[in-house]
C-alpha cells in the first residue's frame, strides 16, 4: 500500500513569469525517476499537491497537456508562504508532488462535439491543459468546433501569451480574450468572461462547455451558458475550494456529500444543482 502522503520528488526545469506584476509564475517540472514518470497518468483538469518540506503544501491544477513528454506545468499565483517559496525555486531545485488528484475533464464525452472553454484569471490553467491537448495536431480531428474564452482583470494579468498568440493565428480554434479593464494599448475585448460569452454564436446542441475560474465568475457564467442553450448535462464546472489532503480525508473541501478533491474538481452542472450552493 502506497502512503498517499509521501510526495514524488520532482525537479524544476523552468520557472518563468506569466504576468507583468510578477505575481503569477509557471513552473515546469520533470521527473528525475523514470518509474515515477511512467506511473504518472493524468487527464486535463486534474491537479496535484506541490510541496516544500518545512514550508508547506498546496494544490495546483496541472496546466500542461498529458502529451508533453513528461513535463508538467503548474501556474502559481503568489499569495502566501507556500506560493512565495515556490516562486523562488530555481531550475534544478527539488519540489515534492502528490498526484494526479481529482477527476479531470470528462474526455470521453468531449470527443466528436463542439467545445467551449471558458476560464477566468488563474483558473484558466487547467483549461489551458485541455486546450493544448485538443488542439494538438494528432488530436484535433477528434473534436468539432473549439472556442476558447479567457478573461483576466487587466492586459498585464493575461497568462500563457505564447499559447494565446498561437491559437489566435490558428483557423481551427476561435479565441476570445477579454480583460475587465483595458489599458492605453489594449485593442481587444473588454468586459468579463460572461460578457464575452454573450457575444458568441455557438451551436448549443453540439456544444459541451467547460468552465473554470473564481467563484464570482462561475456564479455569473452559469446563467449565460444557460441563455446560450448549453444544457446543464453538458456544462462542466471546475470548482475552487480550499483543500489540504487531496485524497478525500481531511474534510475541508466538502460540498454536500461530495469532496471537491476526489469527486471533483470537475462537476457536471446538472449534478451541482443538486448540491448545496456553496460553490457559487
Amino acid at each position: 500500500m502506497r502512503n498517499p502522503f509521501v510526495p514524488i520528488p520532482m525537479t524544476v526545469e523552468r520557472n518563468r513569469v506569466e504576468t507583468v506584476d510578477g505575481g503569477i509564475r509557471t513552473l515546469t517540472l520533470s521527473f528525475p525517476a523514470d518509474a515515477d514518470r511512467g506511473a504518472f497518468d493524468f487527464v486535463p483538469g486534474q491537479f496535484a499537491e506541490l510541496s516544500i518540506l518545512g514550508v508547506g503544501e498546496a494544490p495546483f491544477g496541472i496546466a500542461s497537456s498529458p502529451a508533453e513528454g513528461g513535463l508538467l506545468d503548474f501556474t502559481i499565483s503568489r499569495v502566501g508562504r507556500v506560493t512565495t517559496a515556490l516562486h523562488h525555486l530555481e531550475p534544478g531545485e527539488s519540489v515534492g508532488l502528490r498526484g494526479p488528484l481529482g477527476n479531470g475533464y470528462p474526455m470521453s464525452e468531449l470527443e466528436g462535439g463542439d467545445l467551449l472553454l471558458a476560464g477566468g484569471g488563474f483558473g484558466f490553467s487547467t483549461l489551458r491543459a485541455l486546450a493544448r491537448f485538443v488542439l494538438k495536431q494528432s488530436n484535433r480531428s477528434r473534436f468539432g468546433d473549439i472556442t476558447v474564452v479567457f478573461g483576466a482583470r487587466s492586459p498585464g494579468l493575461l497568462l500563457y501569451r505564447d499559447d494565446l498568440e498561437e491559437w489566435g493565428e490558428r483557423r481551427d480554434v476561435r479565441l476570445a480574450v477579454t480583460v475587465d479593464r483595458g489599458d492605453g494599448s489594449w485593442t481587444g475585448l473588454t468586459g468579463t468572461v460572461p460578457d464575452a460569452l454573450r457575444r458568441l454564436d455557438i451551436d448549443a446542441g453540439r456544444t459541451t462547455a467547460l468552465v473554470c475560474g473564481p467563484p464570482a465568475m462561475i456564479r455569473h457564467t452559469i446563467p449565460v451558458l444557460a441563455g446560450l442553450g448549453v444544457a446543464p448535462e453538458r456544462t462542466h464546472v471546475s470548482l475552487e475550494m480550499k483543500m489540504k489532503c487531496g485524497i478525500g480525508k481531511c474534510g475541508r473541501c466538502s460540498i454536500g456529500g461530495r469532496y471537491v478533491c476526489t469527486d471533483g474538481p470537475v462537476f457536471r452542472l446538472a449534478d451541482l444543482e443538486n448540491l448545496p450552493g456553496e460553490f457559487r
Partner: protein
Amino acid sequence: MEASAIVRTVRERAAELLASGRVDLVIGFEQGSMPMRAAPCFVSDADGTDRLVWNSFCGVNLARFLRGRHGRIAVVAKACDTRALVELIKENQLCRTDMVVIGVPCAGMVDSAAVEEITGHAGITGVEEADGRLLLTAGGSPVSLPREDVLCRSCRRCSTRNPVICDIAVGERAPEPEIPGFLDVDQFAALPSEERRTRIEAEMKRCIRCNACRNVCPMCYCVRCFADDAFPQWVGRGGDPGSVMSFHLVRALHLAGRCVECGACERACPTGVDLGILNRRMSADVYRHFGYRPGMAPEIPSPLSTFSPGDPEDFMLEPDRGRSCGCGG
C-alpha cells in the same frame, strides 16, 4: 433582591426598551437545554422578553456578542461583562452611546462541571437556589450544596461584584469583596524556578490547541490572530511543547492590561487548563507597576498604550559603571 425579582425586573426593563424603540435588540440569558445551563439569548421584540432569566449559571461574558452587530443594543451585564465593555469601548471596538447596559450585581457564577464532579455525574434533573445554596435533584435524590463550594475559579478571586458602567441598575448593590490581591500569584512566584516551570509545563501539556480560550475571549477580536498567521508563522500549530507554551505566553501578553478576569477561557477549555496561571501574573504586574485594573475606569488610558517617565527600571541591566561607562573612551 431575590433572584426571581431580578428576573422580573430584567424582563420588564427589557420589554420597555424594546417597546419604546430605544433599542433594537436585548442580549441576555435564557434557560438552557438542561438544568445548570443558561444560554445567551437575543430578543428583538417585547413579547420575547419572557425568555430572559437570571441565575447562578449566567457565566458567559455577553460583551463577546456586541461587536459587529448593528443598531442599538441593550445587554444584561454583570460586573465582568461591563469591565470587558469598558475595555472594548476604550479600544474603539464598541460605542458607549449605542448600548444600554442593564446592570445586575453578581455573587459569583457556579461551575456546573464542579457540581457534576461532586454529585458523581449522577443525572441532575433539577436545580433551585435559596439562601446561598443550590438545591439539586441528582440521580433522583435531593442534594444541597453551598454555592460558595462550587463557584467558578475566576469568581472565587473576583474583585468586582457590581457593574462598572450601568444605565439601568437591577437589584441591590452586592457588597464588594475585599480586594483579594494576588495571593495566588505571590505563592506561585515564591516557588523555585524549576518548580514553576514544571507546573506550567504540566498545564500546557493538557492543551490540545483548540483555540477555544482565544475564541471565547471577549477581548480577542483581532481580524487575524498571531496564532493563525502562517507568513510569518510566529508560533507553530503542531504539538511541540515550545509552540504550545509560546501560544499561551503571547496570548497572556496580548491580554496584559486588558484581561478582565471573567474566566471565559477557563470555563471553555475542554481539558481544564488553568489559564489563570499565566494571566494572573500579568494582572498582578499591571496592577502593581502601573496601578491599573482593567475595565474599572473608562477614563484612564490602557496601560500599554502609554508610559510614565517614572516607570520602574530596576529590572534593567546596569553594568558596573566604574568598569563600563567609559563613554567611548
